[in-house]
Symmetry: C2
Subunit: 401 residues, 2 copies
């Protein structure tokens, strides 16, 4: 068993990304697709618009008939009919002819321009034109907006109302999306109780269970909270076995004490294999990475900020990969509000709050719930660095997916 | 009937914000609260932590017992027991006594510091201390993280995993959230068909129905797509009546042609009252605002970009207000990529794409679907302005809620 043999973050991440989560795809109706993640590149099956289309209310003409029009010598065209949106024009324009056309309607054969009705004078069944129309005036050509075969949406895209509208525009009403990977979440600790239960002396409410479950949900997975394991082998084993049944991936958090961390590692080793126990980062040194019955299992630190930092560093990349969203951990550049210190030889991650493009370090300590609640993300202080200066440019990894 | 009597945007907005949507509140379990909007300020019912808590594994001491400790003259304390997380310590520390304590455990009476076990030497039932401990070392005091009665979450907050974690931390498992206002959506036009149906010559697929429905869903409402009305009085009336039955607010879009817009206004006037028909903005001039059976009803332009711009300008503020989120339309500052022109006397809104803090105007024309799909939002070119310069600072109203 790899027992607290610390390895670099990059090596740990290599182990994590070597895991394969089952990729399952389902087809959903466009009406239920919002927020889902597209499982394949989507190409347009059609031209938009699918025909040359009037973009104004007016008169469809053969532009060449109007080339000689001027105020001094207007051109007259004969109105031979009308065509409305949704209709197929039965008329073919002859020389000197025009039809009334409404916005959105299909241009009749031979017409290549539409003059707005405000720009002509209508007298009985004739219109009088004082200015030439160029071919394409008042017309959106077939495929001008979206060409048939165009790549519309890339695999891994999270569907917002803009993408569902785009799919609607090309007539797609069913879309293949990734099934949400199922992530089973366990909290641990004798002192930890569920919200809604009575708090006895010495007890605290569970935070990580809800935090991880909902972070998974936001990321596009399905977080399933299993429960709280007591600080003993039987309870841990029972909950891990239940988690293995329902989850594609299992996340434990806590216990806070050294003895409890060892117990978690030992139970995972009994049920499967511990691949990593110890990462050379702060917080996160005692993080456990293992595999049980082919399913990745993680033991994260108990302090909420440490727990969520390690979730973001180690687990989010795997979940995103399984959703076709490699490298989509969100990062922004910012300038540090004030100098921060670290210990040489310690690779540290520090929560920060963003105020515009200023990163304000949160120095309450990882034990405080509020430090992760207030944080928009965290920055890295590398191993060989003892401090970062005020105004220094930093990369903020966001607590947001 | 206020028939195409154009009024300024601010006046139209005043009419809109005078409408009251029914405010309904429901209580949901914390497990189902992600993404919902909190209906009242939430205060902490408890202290976090609820007791003085060890933040390390080590020895709980009376700090004053250690004040004289030095390498030259170490202090010895007697280990009189141990206390683990979740337990209520039965021991009261006497002078010269200590107990082993694990992270997260409650401090025994009289203890006010915890020394990490790595920092002492243990010999049988004694520990040897070479350095003074200050009161508070290794301890998180009761309420230090969150004080009982503290405002945790403001009314109108959209719950992310950080807020659900925070509620969990204070033991709240049920939360009062706004019911999503029901918005009934109707598309109009003889040429418009639903995605998934066969496209006959002259027809196009509906875009606005899906776009508005899902924009409402993203904003925190419940979008309900009613269907596509044909360009005639009976069809329009039938769908509006159906929409009134299910929706708290009704949105129509299209038809593209002038005649169709007049028909919509006339049908709304028959069923209720047209309050506004015509706003001095481009796009959006023919927008209709009315009320039918006490329910606000909007007629938006047919072109998708125009439609969504007017949705964002006029309807989003009302929906946000009803969710306790006044003024939460999202705006960012950016610099214009290149010069853009407008017509003097025309108050124009122009879609832009954001590249970092650069706003790139999208000049495909409002008829193109792709112009709103590509856009992150839009900028305003005021009435008395004929152009905005390259590099000029602009405010971008985001297509995102």
């Amino acid at each position: 068993m790899a027992f607290l043999k610390v390895i670099p973050l990059e090596e740990a991440l290599k182990v994590v990304l070597s895991f394969e989560l089952p990729v399952k795809v389902e087809e959903v109706d466009l009406a239920n697709a919002l927020g889902r993640i597209v499982a394949e590149d989507v190409y347009s099956p059609t031209d938009v618009p699918p025909f040359d289309r009037a973009t104004v209310d007016g008169y469809a003409v053969r532009a060449e008939d109007t080339f000689m029009a001027s105020e001094a010598s207007p051109v007259k065209l004969k109105v031979v009919g009308e065509v409305h949106a949704g209709e197929v024009p039965s008329i073919e324009l002859g020389k000197g002819e025009t039809v009334y056309i409404s916005t959105g309607a299909m241009l009749p054969k031979n017409a290549d321009a539409v003059i707005q009705f405000e720009d002509v004078e209508r007298v009985n069944d004739e219109i009088i034109i004082q200015k030439p129309a160029y071919p394409g005036l008042g017309v959106m050509k077939k495929g001008a907006d979206i060409e048939k075969g165009k790549l519309l949406i890339k695999k891994g895209t999270k569907l917002t109302f803009k993408e569902t509208a785009l799919l609607s525009a090309v007539g797609i009403h069913k879309v293949r999306v990734f099934k949400r990977p199922r992530v089973a979440v366990i909290s641990t600790g004798n002192e930890v109780v569920l919200p809604g239960q009575e708090l006895k002396p010495g007890q605290i409410y569970d935070i990580n269970g809800r935090a991880i479950t909902d972070a998974v949900n936001e990321l596009g997975g399905e977080g399933i909270f299993i429960g709280i394991a007591q600080d003993n082998r039987d309870s841990l084993k029972e909950l891990i076995e239940r988690a293995i049944e329902v989850g594609d991936l299992i996340i434990l958090s806590g216990g806070a004490s050294g003895g409890m961390r060892d117990l978690t590692a030992s139970v995972i080793e009994e049920l499967g294999e511990v691949k990593v126990h110890g990462i050379a980062i702060q917080p996160g040194k005692p993080t456990i990475i293992g595999i049980v019955k082919g399913k990745p299992i993680f033991g994260l630190p108990g302090y909420p900020t440490s727990c969520l930092t390690n979730f973001t560093l180690l687990i989010a990349p795997l979940l995103l990969k399984s959703l076709g969203r490699e490298g989509k951990v969100k990062k922004v550049k910012a300038k540090l509000k004030h100098k921060v210190f670290s210990v040489k030889g310690r690779r540290q991650f520090l929560p920060v709050k963003l105020e515009g493009n200023i990163a304000v370090p949160i120095l309450k300590g990882s034990g405080a719930v509020t430090s992760f609640i207030d944080a928009d993300g965290f920055i890295e202080i590398p191993e060989n660095v003892e401090s970062l200066d005020e105004g220094e440019e930093v990369e903020v990894i966001l607590f947001s997916f």
